[in-house]
Structure formats: structure tokens, C-alpha cells
Symmetry: C2
Subunit: 327 residues, 2 copies
């Protein structure tokens, strides 16, 4: 997998030879983004079953303890575990199932791109779209979710312009979305998270698209911290606010967003910033006041009423009808 | 003056021996915060008049070109310039007027603290207050504006807890407010700007207090970028949103916030982060994608309807009646 902690300062491929290594890569965010976590978790489960079928239940618990919020993780471990348990050749079946999950993810993201292209862009050649965090191909197996319609637009000759919110504290917008868009030749500008509402007010943003880590049955959506505030600001300015996600992100067992577990991560993610110095050396510096502590909730929940449409591989839905797509 | 660009990693006092040096210190944010800019601009004007009375009009234009948004700057240059022009001993009068401005600023901030203590805290012993950017004693000659009621509360035995939003891109919250609060022994936590709305939703914030760079006659308030989004989120959650500022920040000549000039600063403020590495060396790193550009509006305007009360040295006012305080 691509080591996303090192981007954009260096591009490194990391091999995870054991289930434990893959689980660690999920936990420390070497791999991140709900669909990519889902695919990695499926492979981690297959690795664990290959390593020792007798301890695979314990291994599943370990894998599932890495990140609590993205439901794709639990979807994948369950699917691989259950498939192997019902098969005569458990390990072979597990690998096959993990590969199927990854393949389905690619197909779902491609479909989200095509559907989202029609819904978001309509027939408009130029759209200025804001996205938060990274929900592009780095966050998925390929294509992306929130960025898939933008890539589809670019490929079909439209001229999207993307505002990437930095997405403090981890900088997935400043580091990863900006990196992807540069690679794909999509015009864009990084903005501080705090600049989003003002650019909306000034008429410089036409629509917002974000990914999702978990969607409850009523359409409430957990996503990277900051999403909720941007959704409130979009509503205030009458801008459409789209969520793009595969249906594996929908958790029909959760009535609403109140019970989605929200991960609180290490405060050092706020204090420490990694970058390149003038000599080209990658360094980590502490930028905050040394004697101070930080709070670091990693996700928030955007209530369904702030979401215009949810774009999935099975089509478009208002949040209130999202459950129908998985029934 | 304290070099605020170097805080909290080192505490250095910089002497500005000429008007040009003082103007440069305002422009490059060695000194920042509307009241501190106002005081520095008054002294810069006095320096210019001492250096050469004949070129003082040109010098005034130079000083006034440093930062466009904070009205305190223009208030001070005008006041010192006009006083000197009407006096027989121009230089002596200019210095006296500049000193008077600085002294009045201290008194105004102290009064804001006392008034704000009653208004914000009421009789509550524990309040969890969010503030954005830095409007403490670093931003003023002493005491601060938004932080003055918090310091007054601490001094009178109450137990304030402060959430300091990082305030990207320059980190005035993460660097300066956190530094001040540590020094004053006030409990606090730094949060990413994007975490504010979520903590409001979770019931962890009781009120918001911010400073101001310019207040229009109708109460619309320019302040650090990000303020507007926090005000929208506070309204959404029914939280009081206070602006604390001396009446010198009110610009009765501006009908509303539409015509407040908003400074757009260098994009490198988004790309570059200054901090301390593991060896204790202060370094500047680029944390964003190397090939990407950034937008960097430095201020935004919060409409009067989102502001609960404005706290000044002359008392409390609703935004709609703020003009009466300077008539």
C-alpha cells in the first residue's frame, strides 16, 4: 500500500506481510479513507485466517479495534470471516472474498463518479467545488468517492475547480487531495478550514462534496472532523451539500447518528506537523504552545437535514431514503 | 515589542528605532492584534514626525498601507498626525498623543474585562468558553479584549476553561492564546478549527468570545478568518457569541460590513509552518503538496445578526445599537 503518512513529501510503497502489520497500518493511518480501510481490513482478515484459522476470531477482534468509526472496516472483516467459516478451504475462500471486496470497491467508485457527474455538474462546464479531507483514489482502492465525480468531469471535458480544505489536524486536504488533484491536472487551491464559510459568502463556491465513514439509517453521516461545520455553513448559504459513498458505508442497523462511535485520537496530531524544510529534509515540528494540551476528535456527525443528496454506486438518494438502497 | 512571529518557540523583544522599522513590524506581523497594531501605528506616526515633519504625510501613507483591515491603525495615525499638525511643537505633541493612545488602550481593555466578567460569566463559577485567534494581552497593550473577561474571571476566583481554536493558517490560537493562558494559569485546550462546531453540538462549549478588527455602524464585525463560520455554528447551537473590542474599533462611517476591506495575505502562510523539531531547533517546513497553490483571505465579516452582544470599555451593546457608543 501507499504510505499516506509520508505523502506528499515522499511516495513510498509499504508491504504488510502479516495480519498484525496490516492492522497496524490501519491504526497508524498508513492506509486511511473508509473504502481503503475496508479493503485493507478484508486483506488483513484473509492474512489472519491464512496464518492460523484457530486464532482468526481473536485476530478479527484485533483488526476491528484499530479504527472505530468507519463501518467499511467491520463490513469487510465480517464478510471475509463469515465466508471462510462456511467454506471447506477457509484460507482460499478468505483471499477470494477479500479480492472481491476490493474489486467491488473499484466498480462502486467508478459508478459514483458517473452518477455524481450528472447530479453535481448537470450541464455546467465550470463548477467550483469544495471538498473536505481526502475522499479520492488514495482513500479508496481506485477513483475515490467525493473526487470521483470531479475526475469524471475532467475526463469528459468539463472544467472543475476544487477548493481543498486543509483538514486539520492531519492535513488530508492540504497533503493528499491536493496531491491527487495535481497528479490528475485538476485546477485547485488549498484553503484553511476557517476560510470555507467566507468563500461561500463571497460566492466563490458552487457546491460541496465529501465522503463518509458511516451513514446511519436516517442519513446522518459521520465523516472527518470539520465536515459538520462546513455543512452548517453550506446550508446558511443555500449551497448543495453532497455525500458520496459506496452503499457498504451505510449502516442500516444504526437508527441515527447519535450512536456512531467517534474516535478521539492522540493530541500530538494537533501539536506536530510534518513537512519539508528548506534543505529538502522531511522533519516533524511542534507548532503549538509547548505547555498546552489539545483535544482531537477525529470525526463528527452531519445530520441528514444538512445533506442535499447522497451519491452511491446504486444511484442518488435523499438522506431520508438512503436505507432503501441497502434493503 | 514582543516578536509575536517567534512565539511560543522563543520569546524575543524587538526594538523598532525608526518609523520604517515599526511599519515593517506591523506588516510582517511582528506585532499583531487590532489594539496592538493601533498602539504601534501611533508610535510609528510619532517616529515619522520626529524624523522629518515635512515628509510625515508620506510616512503616514506608508504606515497606513501595512494592514488594511484593522481600523485602529487608521484611528491612531490620524489622531497623532492631526494633533501634531495643530501643535507648535509637533514632535513632542505626537509622542504625547501616541502615549495617550497606548494608555487609553490599557484602560479600555481593563474595563472590557470587568464588564465582560459580569455579562459572560454572570454568577456561574465554571464556564467553558471558546475563543478564536488571539485577542489577549499580546494583541493589545495589556489585558486583551476577548481574553480580558477570562482573566478577570480567573482573578476573581471563577474557573474558566478555554477552547483555543488553532486559527489556521497563522496559528494565533495554537501559538499565542495558548501561550498566554499557560502563563496566566488558565485551564485550556487547543482544538482544530474544524472541531468547534462538533464540540458545540456535544454540549462542551457554553459561549464564544472573539475580538474584532473593525466594527461597522450596523454591528457587522471583521475579525480573523474563521470567525464567521464559528458564529454560524454558535447560532445553530443557540450559544451566545460575544465580540469584545474597544470603541476605537468601531468605524461609524461604514454603514455595514460589505465595504470593510479584507486583506488577502501571501499563500505561503498556508504552506509553511514554523515549529520546534525534536532537537529543539526552530524550523520552518512546507506541509502542503508542493505543486499546489493556496488562497489566504486573512479576515472575514460576521454579520450583526449572528452577534449576541458587543462588549466595549463603555459598556455592553447589541450590535444594532453599537453606533450610539461613539456618537
Amino acid at each position: 500500500m501507499i504510505d499516506q503518512n509520508k505523502l506528499p513529501h515522499s511516495f513510498e510503497i509499504t508491504a504488510c506481510g502479516t495480519a498484525a502489520q496490516t492492522a497496524k497500518a490501519i491504526k497508524d493511518m498508513t492506509v486511511r479513507g473508509a473504502p481503503a480501510i475496508g479493503a485493507a481490513a478484508g486483506f488483513a482478515m484473509a492474512q489472519a485466517i491464512s496464518e492460523n484459522p484457530k486464532t482468526s476470531a481473536a485476530a478479527r477482534a484485533t483488526i476491528e479495534s484499530t479504527r472505530p468509526t468507519a463501518v467499511d472496516l467491520f463490513y469487510s472483516t465480517k464478510r471475509v470471516f463469515d465466508a471462510a467459516a462456511q467454506a471447506t478451504d477457509g484460507a482460499k475462500t478468505a483471499w477470494s472474498e477479500a479480492n472481491a471486496i476490493a474489486g467491488e470497491s473499484v466498480a462502486a467508485c467508478k459508478a459514483i463518479g458517473e452518477t455524481g457527474l450528472d447530479e453535481v455538474f448537470g450541464k455546467r462546464k465550470k463548477m467550483r467545488i469544495m471538498t473536505h479531507c481526502n475522499a479520492g483514489w488514495l482513500a479508496c482502492v481506485d477513483w475515490g468517492t467525493a473526487l470521483a465525480p470531479i475526475y469524471a468531469a475532467k475526463a469528459s471535458g468539463l472544467e472543475p475547480f476544487v477548493y481543498c480544505t486543509e483538514t486539520r489536524p492531519r492535513g488530508q486536504g492540504a497533503r493528499l487531495t491536493a496531491f491527487e488533484l495535481s497528479n490528475e491536472g485538476v485546477d485547485h487551491a488549498i484553503i484553511a478550514d476557517g476560510a470555507a464559510a467566507w468563500l461561500m459568502k463571497k460566492g466563490e463556491i458552487d457546491a460541496v462534496i465529501v465522503g463518509a465513514d458511516r451513514i446511519a439509517a436516517n442519513g446522518d453521516t459521520a465523516n472527518k472532523i470539520g465536515t459538520f461545520g462546513h455543512a452548517i455553513a453550506a446550508k446558511e448559504h443555500g449551497l448543495p451539500f453532497f455525500v458520496a459513498a459506496p452503499t457498504s458505508t451505510i449502516d442500516p442497523g444504526l437508527e441515527n447518528g447519535e450512536s456512531i462511535p467517534i474516535e478521539e485520537r492522540d493530541e500530538n496530531e494537533v501539536h506536530l506537523v510534518r513537512g519539508v524544510d528548506e534543505a529538502g529534509v522531511v522533519r516533524t515540528v511542534r507548532w503549538t504552545n509547548p505547555a498546552s494540551h489539545a483535544r482531537n476528535p477525529a470525526f463528527d456527525v452531519t445530520p441528514a437535514r444538512l445533506i442535499t443528496q447522497i451519491i452511491t454506486e446504486k444511484g442518488i438518494s435523499t438522506p431520508s431514503r438512503i436505507k432503501e438502497l441497502v434493503e
